[in-house]
């Protein structure tokens, strides 16, 4: 009796697994014969713009490497997956891929040879792209310089290194299908939504992931992770003191700086660098869409929060006078005297208001998102490494304070900055957070 039941169970499992294997199986597609000159320059140009919005170059280029030749390490909780070579090189790139093969990869996450791709490649977003846009991206990539650079295999722990797990993941989480416009919304809004949800794949970092590494559908844009940085929430939970407006978002995304928020740092730096080359209208559209999902919904709340934040920033601004009087004893006693002394000496040169210099001023810290996030990680990263524009390019420079200040001092500084410039609760354990950041960095530096 029991034996029979068991047998049934076994058979059922085998059948189910067999069915899954059959379902997930994808055949190899025949090599393509597409050649560069067979593409309409207009289409290629359109593809270039989409590639800019999608930042393809970021994950498909290793530091100092040839663009699109792959090798960039994408860290996941399960291990490291390396961006692949998507130049038209036939042997190591996608030169042998037909447009059909490319479309299948974008829509279903399956390589030309039938292998299932790990979701570090955000096909869960690219599946939303229109045929026309996929063709344009294909045309763009196929007209790049061919670079012979073999792909670096993913470093995933057993058994995840079995491709079949990617297939299982797709079965569970890949919801295929093109983007559908919302007729109730403006064309610009829909364009923005299409770019954000599709090629822009903003959710890949800004949406939290479940235990299996899939974006949590019910918590879209609630804030996630990218390259070890926390990607702030883009929904109602946005930590920005002043609620984002479409204009502020546009300036931030287009120029890398918004005067009520600050400048793009960390993984957002390359993103805004690419968006600077995208069509202005597309960046406007993205800003328009995001502005409708980020921060408080009720206009009255937004206004209240804005006024409060600006007033607070005003009230907490450190002026030349405060800093100078601090030594003449006139300043109010401060519980964080150690952190304050460090701030007045090391940071106030730039992060104070008033005075002629420096001419290019950062935004008041009370308006800065890293200072107001629930986790000090981003602030600590910025303090340790500073902010540096790409070589030869204009852009604010913040020096790295790692080594200049001891870890103990950095902790004191962070505590003081939080207490002075944020209305949020004190960060529970900055020392532990700092240790964590340092650990992550040494791992990243290790070859």
């Amino acid at each position: 009796m029991l034996a029979r039941a068991l047998l049934g169970l076994v058979i059922a499992t085998v059948v189910a697994f067999g069915a899954f294997v059959a379902w997930q199986w994808r055949g190899e597609l025949p090599p393509a014969t597409a050649s560069a000159h067979s593409f309409d320059p207009g289409i290629v140009a359109k593809g270039a713009q989409l590639a800019a919005v999608g930042d393809c170059a970021v994950c498909h280029t290793r530091a100092g490497g040839k663009p699109y030749a792959g090798g960039f390490p994408v860290e996941t909780p399960f291990g490291v997956v390396y961006g692949t070579n998507i130049t038209p090189d036939r042997d190591t790139g996608i030169g042998a891929w037909s447009e059909e093969a490319f479309r299948r990869a974008m829509r279903e996450g399956v390589a030309r040879d039938g292998a299932h791709l790990y979701p570090a490649f955000p096909y869960d977003h690219f599946t939303r792209l229109t045929d026309g846009d996929i063709s344009a991206l294909y045309a763009f990539l196929m007209t790049r310089e061919q670079v012979s650079q073999p792909d670096r295999p993913p470093e995933l722990s057993f058994p995840l290194n079995w491709r079949i797990f990617a297939a299982a993941w797709q079965l569970l989480f890949l919801d295929k299908g093109a983007w559908r416009n919302d007729p109730a919304q403006s064309a610009q809004w829909n364009r923005g939504a299409y770019l954000v949800e599709g090629v822009g794949h903003c959710g890949a970092c800004h949406t939290p992931r479940n235990r299996l590494g899939a974006e949590a559908r019910d918590r879209r844009f609630a804030g996630g992770e990218g390259e070890g940085w926390s990607a702030p929430a883009l929904d109602a939970a946005s930590p920005a003191p002043v609620p984002w407006t479409a204009d502020q978002l546009y300036n931030y995304l287009r120029r890398g700086f918004a005067d009520q928020h600050g400048l793009a740092a960390g993984p957002m730096q390359p993103v805004v660098a690419d968006l600077a080359r995208a069509p202005e209208a597309d960046v406007r559209a993205i800003a328009t869409y995001v502005a409708t999902i980020i921060g408080p919904r009720d206009p009255a709340d937004r206004k209240r929060q804005t006024d409060a934040a600006l007033a607070f920033a005003q009230q907490r601004a450190v002026t030349v006078g405060d800093v100078t009087r601090a030594t003449t004893g006139a300043a109010p006693a401060d519980t964080h005297s150690a952190g304050k002394a460090l701030f007045d000496g090391a940071c106030a040169t730039c992060h104070r208001s008033g005075g002629g210099l420096p001419v290019s001023r950062p935004v008041p810290l009370a308006l800065s998102t890293p200072v107001n996030e629930s986790d000090p990680g981003n602030l600590l990263r910025i303090v340790l490494d500073g902010i540096h524009p790409a070589p030869g390019r204009r852009g604010p420079i913040m020096p790295a304070f790692s080594g200049m200040l001891t870890d103990q001092q950095i902790v004191a500084l962070a505590d003081y900055v939080r207490s002075r410039y944020s209305r949020g609760p004190a960060w529970p354990n900055v020392a532990a957070a700092l240790a964590g950041v340092r650990r992550a960095q040494t791992l990243r530096e290790a070859p």
Binding site: V323, A326, T327, A341, L342, D344, G345, A346, A348, T349, C350, P358, G386, I397, M398, P399, S402, G403, M404, L405, T406, Q409
Partner: protein
């Protein structure tokens, strides 16, 4: 009052604790090597070593430096007995106006104490925070390579340096 350990000597400094180290080195301790270039952490002319790390002394308040180990070019050697990095810069004639050079030497010293034989790319990356307007970069690069050789042949090589 702040007590600073500069080049192995203790100094009692009475300047405001917020005062950047650069001004104390130059004006209170009469150590001329570190230079003011920008005061913003953008050029490296003020670079000195603190606990073996290259730092911008123009932005480091002395309040952050009690009990830490500060070194300047004056500690690398003297005009009669220049140290390896200084010798390398002299032998390569790696200076035009020379204003940036002390900062360059301290950053090079820090690099060589961590990496006895850096390759060209590593040197360029390590030196990136320091600017030279005279265009002496090629000679500075040669000088750092030479300093690496000089240091390793010296008994008092990088390892011993680091334990000082």
């Amino acid at each position: 009052m702040t007590v600073l350990n500069v080049n192995g000597k203790q100094h009692e400094v009475h300047a405001d604790p917020r005062t950047p180290l650069l001004y104390v080195l130059r004006n209170d301790l009469a150590l001329n090597a570190a230079k003011f270039g920008c005061g913003l952490g953008q050029c490296g002319a003020c670079t000195v070593l603190v606990d073996h790390n290259p730092v911008f002394s123009c932005l480091t308040p002395i309040s952050a430096l009690e009990g830490r180990y500060i070194r300047t070019v004056e500690d690398l050697g003297t005009i009669d007995k220049p140290g390896p990095v200084q010798r390398a810069f002299i032998e390569e004639q790696a200076a035009q106006c020379g204003y940036c050079i002390p900062g360059m030497m301290m950053r090079a010293q820090a690099l060589l104490e961590k990496n006895a034989a850096p390759d060209d790319a590593q040197i360029r990356a390590a030196m990136a925070p320091n600017l030279c307007r005279c265009g002496t970069q090629m000679r500075i690069l040669r000088a750092v390579h030479r300093a690496a050789r000089l240091m390793t042949v010296e008994l008092q090589g990088p390892v011993k340096e680091a334990q000082k």
